[in-house]
């Protein structure tokens, strides 16, 4: 057995001892490793100190985790003989054999041809892709407005990004202010599970979205193998976002992780991401991350921020400073150094033209570099089905054109949450609510009474966005909303 290195046993907010499932054994390149049912392969490997998950096919550079939510393909490994499995969203199973990949896969010469079956077919009124705050609120409201709802998510649990947010939310009471993200996820999940007209499919990736006669067809794959055809009269895409990468030397070294991935490691699975961390980006995500790392007993060496001032809320920044973490504005990361994984980070001050100033380099001995440099909307399915797309930097990149009820340029296809434009969980929930009701109205299961609910949610959105942090988003929204 490899030594158990990285599991968190004590945490001020979370209790992992209680949460962990049955102890099982998996095999990494022949070596037995302890794992717990309910965790993903990558988490079990990381807990055992394994950071290098494979090697790139051309230059054989080491590869490690990056997004931890199935969106970047940095964690591909061979699992039970099947190559290129996304190990960050695949759950461990007893006796599983896991191998690193170095070259492109070689096919076994003798394999029985598969039996070609009809796909499993599931029908409902509204199919919702993504079970984060947007998708969950869409499901609850569409269901209450009379629709039979199908909800799918490729992760093994509902809640999206909320499941890793251990901090308390801002905002109004009805928007869960003062409640921790994880708790909001639990409340919403309970609401969803209470409703009989919502059917949930986890570990199910939507891989294709099509118009099929009068209906929409969502092609899904469950647990990497089972094909399912979901049909509905309307579809709501709430697929969230994916972390941005920035260019610097060594940015592909294992140990350069997205902020969300680090949260997944420590807050969802109780695995320590490393011992010493440098954070890049002082927006809210970077600041909250710093705090959460400290809570988990990790040493945060510094936060670097390219802008002249901190982007996140003042209270968060003040808290971090009180804990003694330096926030270096007008600084950027120059390179990550290390043999097979991050061992050091070199940062430097930059001038007005974003060029590094020679002589200002600082070296930090860290084993993790956390990138909190923003997100971009996950619009792949919307793009593929043919929705009109526009580049709007204020919303994080390419987004879909939509109306104020979240309907895209294709009738019956709605969007909500981060996939409609990067914002926050609070707005994602409100957009989800609007999309859920609007879809139910469109397919005719909801009475016109429900229009009022949409108006109410729209008003709340306006209020929320009226603050100083909403200005940029409002600029962006002006560019994508049409009537």
């Amino acid at each position: 057995m490899l030594v158990k290195l990285m599991r968190l046993t004590e945490h001020p907010i979370l209790n992992f001892q209680e949460k962990r499932g049955r102890k099982i054994t998996i095999y990494f390149e022949g070596q037995p490793i302890e794992a717990y049912e309910g965790e993903t392969i990558v988490m079990a490997l990381h807990a055992a100190g394994i950071r290098v998950l494979g090697y790139s096919v051309h230059k054989h550079r080491p590869r490690g985790l990056f997004c931890a939510i199935g969106k970047c393909a940095s964690c591909l490994m061979t699992v039970n003989g099947i190559p290129n499995v996304r190990t960050c969203i695949t759950l461990v199973e007893d006796g599983m054999k896991i191998e690193r990949q170095k070259d492109k896969p070689k096919l076994p010469p003798t394999v029985k041809p598969p039996k070609f079956k009809e796909a499993k077919k599931v029908s409902g009124d509204i199919v919702i892709i993504g079970g984060g705050p947007a998708g969950l609120m869409a499901a609850i409201n569409a269901a209450d407005a009379g629709a039979k709802v199908i909800l799918l998510d490729e992760n093994p649990m509902l809640g999206g990004q909320l499941v890793k947010q251990t901090h308390k939310f801002f905002g109004k009471r009805e928007q869960f202010a003062g409640v921790r993200g994880v708790k909001i996820a639990e409340i919403l999940e309970e609401e969803v599970r209470k409703r009989e007209n919502i059917e949930i499919f986890l570990e199910t990736s939507a891989i294709m979205l099509l118009q099929d006669g009068d209906e929409k067809l969502v092609v899904g794959v469950r647990k990497n193998k089972e094909l399912i055809e979901f049909r509905g009269k309307a579809v709501i895409v709430a697929t969230g976002a994916m972390e941005k990468m920035i260019p610097f030397e060594g940015n592909d070294l294992p140990g350069v992780y997205g902020a969300g991935a680090i949260q997944t490691l420590m807050n969802t699975y109780g695995v320590k991401p490393g011992d010493r961390v440098l954070i890049v980006g002082a927006g809210n995500v970077g600041l909250i991350l710093a705090y959460q790392l400290i809570q988990a007993g990790v040493d945060v060496k510094a936060i670097v921020e390219a802008m002249p001032k901190i982007g996140g809320y003042f209270v968060h920044a003040a808290k971090i400073r009180r804990l003694g973490v330096p926030i270096l504005t007008r600084h950027t990361i120059l390179r990550a150094e290390g043999k097979e994984k991050v061992e050091r980070a070199v940062v430097a001050q930059i001038d007005e033209k974003w060029r590094s100033i020679p002589g200002t380099e600082k070296v930090f001995d860290v084993d993790v570099i956390a990138l909190a440099v923003g997100l971009r909307p996950s619009i792949e399915l919307l793009h593929q089905v043919g929705c009109q797309i526009k580049y709007v930097p204020e919303l994080g990149g390419h987004v879909v054109i939509r109306d104020s009820r979240m309907e895209t340029t294709i009738k019956g296809i709605f969007v909500a949450g981060d996939s409609a434009g990067i914002e926050e969980a609070t707005t994602a929930m409100l957009e989800g609510k609007i999309a859920g009701i609007a879809a139910a109205l469109e397919i005719g299961t909801a009475s016109s009474e429900w229009f009022k609910e949409i108006e109410k949610a729209q008003k709340e959105l306006d209020e929320f966005r009226a603050g100083p942090f909403g200005r940029k988003v409002l600029e962006g929204i002006k560019k994508v909303v049409v009537e």
Partner: protein, 389 residues
């Protein structure tokens, strides 16, 4: 943009660019290629990259035997690596009757110097290690067939053509051809007029529209767009499914590893007559093609599909292209209607048309009679060219 040109080629696919390159090479100055979108955007970038001499009639076998000789030298000629590989075509027979047909075809191919032979399934397994040998009796194998990168071929032709002085105007559709007294006067484009006396219609699926611009009947060369699709998997190690591997009896389904990244391209004979704007991939195709692909190579069940796309087979009634001079209008030439096998023909067809324009004849072994664009109005059809996919 030029206001005058010696030759205007309408269509910037592999055929139009090959013609342009060969005209430049022959020293013709002022050649212009008009492409309504970007070069390669028609069928060329959507093809399966296969190159074969395994046809079932004399004209196509001879032309393709010659073309393979051209492909072999093309990287050197263009000073650009087009990734041509003689990785072969392997056809697989599922019944005794098919084996007999294979034998007959092989005899004809051998007669014209194409070294196809009948091979056992043991040998086939050596060539394609993950092949499911059980359903098949024998294979027809020509190791000289192969593949090349459509992207590098288009780029290589265009680059070299430009070195010869050819001008390529992208996003510049031809909208009209000015003809007076059966003579060409010029081509009108969305960006202005180009005076010329010679025009080549290399618009493949769109060729009937271009013929109409010149005042011909739309179905003078009756080319129809049939939607064909492909899927491609994530890269796998090279050397596993290098040849185009196809049991024709299984709905013409085929698999072939991309010569550049090793991803497996899979096709099947699910075609649909459609309109010129419809390149929408469909779900029924992906289901159908994977059913066959995993029967040919069962281990493909472990590999993820990463892309799917559609393009046109620009089909004539006898699945042979129309290549040559159009006698009604002086200076009007056509090379179109390639019916799903135009990529492989590009070097020789480009050379032949260029020589025809410049010298009135060509040394390319291209049977002008066989491909005569006037054959349709005469009600003559050739025996259908062997189409796959």
């Amino acid at each position: 943009m030029k206001s005058r040109a010696e030759v205007v080629i309408i269509g910037g696919g592999v055929i139009g660019l090959s013609i342009a390159y060969h005209l430049g090479k022959l020293g013709v100055e002022d050649v212009v290629v008009l492409e309504k979108n970007y070069i390669g955007s028609g069928s060329t970038f959507r093809c399966a990259s296969g190159i074969r001499a395994q046809f079932t009639d004399e004209a196509n076998i001879k032309l393709q035997k010659y073309n393979i000789e051209r492909w072999k030298r093309l990287s050197d000629e263009l000073e650009h690596d087009i990734n041509f590989k003689q990785s072969g075509y392997l056809f697989l027979a599922t019944s005794e009757e098919e084996v007999e047909v294979f034998k007959k075809n092989i005899k004809l191919q051998n007669k014209f110097g194409v070294p196809t032979r009948l091979i056992s399934m043991d040998e086939a397994k050596e060539i394609v290690p993950p092949l499911n040998t059980e359903p098949f009796l024998a294979g027809a194998w020509n190791p000289e067939d192969g593949k090349a990168s459509p992207f590098h071929v288009v780029y290589g032709f265009a680059k070299k053509a430009k070195e010869f002085g050819v001008e390529i105007y992208e996003y510049t559709p031809a909208v009209d051809i000015i003809v007076e007294n059966c003579e060409i006067k010029g081509v009108k484009t969305e960006r202005g007029m180009i005076k010329t006396e010679t025009v080549v219609n290399a618009a493949n699926a769109w060729a009937p529209v271009v013929n109409e611009m010149a005042g011909l009947k739309r179905d003078f060369v009756p080319i129809k767009p049939y939607k064909h699709q492909l899927v491609k998997t994530e890269p796998i190690a090279e050397g596993q499914i290098e040849p185009l591997t196809c049991p024709p009896a299984w709905n013409d389904s085929y698999v072939i590893q991309d010569g550049e990244d090793g991803g497996v391209i899979c096709g099947t004979g699910l075609e649909k007559l459609t309109h010129l704007d419809d390149v929408q991939p469909t779900y029924d195709f992906i289901r159908e093609v994977l059913k066959w692909a995993t029967k040919i190579i069962p281990a493909l069940k472990y590999v993820h599909v990463v892309r799917q796309w559609a393009g046109f087979y620009a089909k004539t009634p006898d699945k042979n292209p129309a290549i040559g001079k159009i006698n009604y209008i002086d200076g009007f030439y056509i090379a179109a209607g390639f019916s799903g096998h135009g990529f492989m023909m590009a070097p020789g067809v480009g050379e032949a048309i260029a020589e025809l324009i410049v010298k009135g004849k060509s040394k390319v072994p291209l049977d002008w009679d066989w491909y005569d664009p006037h054959r349709f109005e005469r009600g003559e059809l050739r025996s259908a060219a062997f189409q796959i996919g």
